[in-house]
């Protein structure tokens, strides 16, 4: 269950990353493969500690894996947006653009043209001489995106670009991301929002450094081993149950127990929860059949 990078494509293959921290050796990524093809958006989904940021940093060349291969363009052809927007707060929007532009060799007429295009698309033209520390969260994230895109890189890496952002800016950000992919570039982004993961071409779901699912998000329901049920049988399922508002859903490793209602095509949230439980069960008892 992995999506290997096509020959000549970008991505990571079989990467394992282990760090020594205050409490011994920690495995941040375990044999993770991720393909980032051109012309589409690839998402990495997971909670805190799942390994999303580490994986993106591996792609960006900031972390060297202990084993595995990474295929990525060099710094000039790569754009990176860290999870804290990567914006210099003491500079204005224009000053940020100029600094990053010059760092990538974008100056003069080309810089002016890129600036105009980017700020227009991001609806930031009116704020061009505002201190970026004074922008709202959503506007700052959009600026971060512009900075990552200013040199028209082949590979764009975005770490949680829309976390906490207001709904209007989120949609605008998504539009900017989708447009970028549509122009033929490779885009990979990490997110904790499952609805964003649903709209990408390919998703990698991580949990604790392990891959729970990789592939088309529309097929994640069918990748769940066993079944997901709702109703009375779910309520008594103990640790394998979870609340969805007024309902309780549960995951069973085997078939649907008699008298309970199965969930035919679990949505992404149910699927991820079930996959996490299945993974935990396998880890606790490797002999158990999936």
């Amino acid at each position: 269950m992995s999506v290997r990078p096509a020959a000549g494509g970008w991505g990571a293959e079989g990467c394992t990353v282990r760090f020594t921290s205050a409490r011994g050796v920690v495995t941040a990524l375990s044999d993770i493969s991720l393909a980032v093809p051109r012309g589409q958006v690839t998402a990495v989904v997971g909670g805190d500690g799942a390994g999303k940021t580490t994986l993106l940093r591996v792609l960006a060349g900031r972390v060297t894996p202990g084993s595995g291969r990474v295929s990525a363009p060099d710094a000039h052809d790569m754009g990176f947006m860290p999870s804290a927007s990567g914006v210099w707060r003491e500079l204005t929007v224009d000053e940020n653009l100029e600094f990053v532009g010059r760092a990538y060799g974008v100056r003069g007429a080309r810089l002016a043209a890129r600036r105009r295009t980017l700020l227009e698309r991001a609806d930031l033209l009116d704020a061009a001489d505002r201190l970026s520390g004074r922008l709202s969260g959503g506007m700052r994230q959009k600026l971060g995106f512009c900075l990552a895109m200013i040199h028209e890189p082949e590979l764009l890496i975005l770490d949680e670009p829309s976390t906490g952002v207001d709904p209007v800016s989120r949609v605008e950000l998504w539009r900017m991301i989708a447009e970028t992919a549509a122009t033929g570039r490779a885009v990979v982004m990490s997110t904790t929002y499952l609805d964003e993961a649903e709209r990408v071409a390919s998703v990698l779901v991580l949990d604790g450094g392990y891959a729970l699912y990789a592939g088309d998000p529309r097929n994640i329901g069918s990748a769940v081993p066993g079944c997901v049920v709702r109703g009375a049988a779910a309520v008594v399922a103990g640790q394998a149950a979870w609340r969805r508002g007024p309902e309780t859903h549960a995951w069973f490793a085997a078939e649907v127990p008699a008298g309970s209602e199965g969930v035919a095509d679990p949505d992404m949230e149910d699927a991820v929860i079930a996959l996490t439980l299945a993974h935990d069960a396998r880890a606790a008892d490797p002999r158990a059949a999936t």
């Binding site: 760090f19 205050a22 909670g47 580490t54 900031r62 860290p82 999870s83 804290a84």
Partner: protein, 370 residues
């Protein structure tokens, strides 16, 4: 309330920098004000020059009181007045006695304020048997001695405190990671970050010197070029220290704490306030480890005594060595801090990782951003 107290103690136990301050500061102050804070210089170095040199030397040796206060470092029977003055210009002695004319003349080095004051007392006790003249700082003005050393202090502040804050802020905001991803060479990053502070410090140095000359009428007798060179070398030392401090601090507060740690001894033990000569040897050696001590020697020598490389070369050499070490170490550490993090080698072990424990070198800045 008890819960508050217990918690505060537990937290303090883990805050090593504050603990160090709590323990080290009293010790430092005790040493300084117990031993080092001494304005009274008991022993003066002297050069005896001129035809009657040998005779004077014997007289001094014969007089226990005088011998106790005067340490004769050179006897020069063939020297003339100029030679006597040059002993002082080269800071080879605190006083130079020229015995050649009708009365012996005691030349006193006015750039060593407290030594000069001691010498004045000595001369007064000799009454009309000798003439005396204070060189370089005839009115023994404190400002004339302070301003050159102040130049060094300002360079130290900018070099260490301001530079380290600027670098740590970048790391705190997460934008250092950004810089690391961009096509900058690490040397370009460090040079770009430091250059403005270098320029600012140089401008400050010029401003303070000019103000000192205009307002306090401090003389500038030596070579401006040599002065600038000394300043530049010293700047590399303190900038290097500033960068080093930034690589071991995670927050601006920590950077300030650490910078003050390094700054305080320099203010107190570099001879800036309390003269080195008055400190007991056990404490004086600390002063000899501090860069500001050597820059103060250079700036005081050039401005007040018109001293040149021939007499100041030891200070220059020591500062240069310090600059190479400090700045070199700084560049290396900084490069390491923005280099890619290497994972431990090998494939993953089986089984699931537990609860996603925090990873070293990976900043997780999500969640509560208002």
């Amino acid at each position: 309330m008890l819960a508050m107290i217990i918690k505060e103690f537990r937290e303090l136990r883990r805050d090593r920098r504050t603990l160090a301050m709590l323990l080290a500061l009293p010790v430092l102050l005790l040493i300084v004000f117990g031993y080092a804070a001494n304005f009274h210089i008991t022993s003066l170095t002297a050069a005896v020059v001129g035809p009657g040199a040998a005779q004077v030397e014997q007289q001094i040796a014969a007089n226990p009181q005088a011998a106790g206060h005067l340490d004769i470092v050179a006897t020069d029977p063939s020297g003339d007045v100029a030679a006597a003055r040059s002993y002082l210009a080269d800071a080879k002695a605190n006083v130079a006695v020229y015995v050649g004319g009708a009365k012996p003349v005691v030349y006193i080095d006015g750039s060593s304020l407290f030594a000069a004051q001691s010498a004045q007392v000595l001369v007064a006790s000799l009454g009309s048997k000798v003439d005396s003249e204070i060189l370089f700082n005839p009115q023994l003005k404190t400002s004339w001695v302070m301003v050159p050393a102040l130049v060094g202090l300002i360079l130290t502040f900018i070099g260490m405190l301001v530079t380290s804050i600027g670098l740590v802020k970048e790391r705190q905001n997460g934008t250092l990671e950004q810089l690391a991803v961009m096509p900058f060479r690490p040397s370009a990053v460090i040079a770009g970050k430091i250059a403005p502070y270098f320029v600012l410090a140089a401008a400050d140095m010029l401003a303070v010197t000019l103000l000192g000359v205009w307002i306090f009428k401090v003389p500038f007798n030596g070579s401006p070029l040599l002065f600038a060179l000394g300043g530049a070398i010293f700047l590399f030392v303190v900038l290097g220290l500033g960068v080093l401090i930034s690589t071991i601090s995670q927050t601006v507060g920590q950077a300030i704490q650490t910078a003050m740690f390094v700054l305080m001894p320099q203010i107190l033990l570099s001879g800036f306030i309390f003269p080195l000569a008055a400190m007991p040897a056990g404490v004086r050696w600390i002063g000899y480890l501090l860069p500001l001590t050597y820059f103060a020697k250079i700036s005081q020598g050039i401005m007040l005594r018109g001293a040149g490389l021939s007499s100041l070369w030891p200070a220059f050499v020591i500062l240069t060595v310090m600059a190479v070490v400090a700045f070199g170490a700084a560049v290396l550490r900084f490069q390491r801090s923005i280099a890619p993090v290497r994972s431990r080698a090998g494939r993953s072990p089986g089984g699931k990782l537990g609860d996603g424990t925090a990873e070293q070198g990976v900043e997780v800045l999500k969640g509560a951003t208002p």
